[in-house]
Symmetry: C2
Subunit: 177 residues, 2 copies
């Protein structure tokens, strides 16, 4: 059920994501890591690159932007495709390390940046969505992590959409036949 954002509840989730993804993916046979849902969709490997790009350009940079600029200057748009170039030639293990380092540093930065719950009402301007608050932005950080964990396990599960045979009917994650 719906809840208000709180730093005390959110930070433990954000802190766990890198190790959750490492535990889920590191050392798995490559077909799980490079699987996609078809042309133009992302593999687990791609998703880790996307999360890295978010650590570099979205979550803390936009939080700083809100606190510095308020609504006067919209955020720079987020590049949803930057990771294809940035991840090229790197191993999954390297990407997982990078993500973990960036996330840890960003949570340390968050701790100095947002020191009171009144900061959560500070406003910024999203280039497409318009007025947003810092609390909404930080809530989105959490929901975005969880969404991409969900995406990764969905992509993996769908490798077995045909293999499960008639059980597909009981597994909505695999999509309707």
């Amino acid at each position: 059920m719906s809840a208000a954002f709180s730093l005390e509840e959110a930070v433990p989730v954000l802190a766990r994501t890198p190790l959750v993804l490492r535990t889920l993916l590191d050392g798995l046979p490559d077909p799980w890591i490079s699987a996609t849902e078809g042309e133009g969709t992302w593999s687990p490997f791609d998703v880790i690159g996307h999360l890295i790009h978010g650590e570099r350009t979205d979550w803390i940079p936009r939080a700083e932007h809100i606190l510095r600029e308020g609504e006067s200057v919209p955020f720079a748009p987020f590049d949803r495709f930057a990771m294809f170039e940035a991840s090229r030639g790197r191993t999954l293990a390297e990407l997982l390390d990078t993500f973990a380092e960036l996330r840890a540093a960003n949570l340390r930065r968050l701790g100095t940046l947002v020191t009171s719950s009144t900061d959560l009402g500070r406003r910024g301007r999203h280039p497409e969505l318009g007025r947003v608050t810092l609390g909404q932005h930080l809530s989105t950080w959490v929901a975005h992590d969880l969404s991409h964990i969900s995406q990764i396990v969905r992509v993996m599960a769908r490798r077995y959409t045909a293999a499960v045979g008639p059980w597909r009917e009981y597994l909505p994650l695999l999509g309707r036949a």
Copy 2:
């Protein structure tokens, strides 16, 4: 993209699930653990109980049933509600321990039970779905794990459906407004 089931690829996924769930959930503030999507839906705590019940009554018992009975005797139906009683009074940490122990034992048993890929074509009879194969059953074990990881992160993310404000539009996991 769709793939054939293979033990070599499936076992590493099955083996990781208990630690993935422990990493994701153990020690989180309770509102994440007890969250549901409303009346009659399951919390992360409930899901771990359901996975335990599957280890006890579904995956290995039904694999043994297929190898012993073939199509002559249908499986006993799976109880989707057994965990509400079985989990009562237990802590999440206890459930995570139990799940990890049962899963490890079941994967050891799987290694002695299914020794060749020709076993994967052995047939059984599901009480509702009819004829199934051992390979389909084991594929379902994997997809079922991944489905419930997906469910847990969805339930968690939806705590912030309102809190993300206008970003909901970019987060299909939260459901349409």
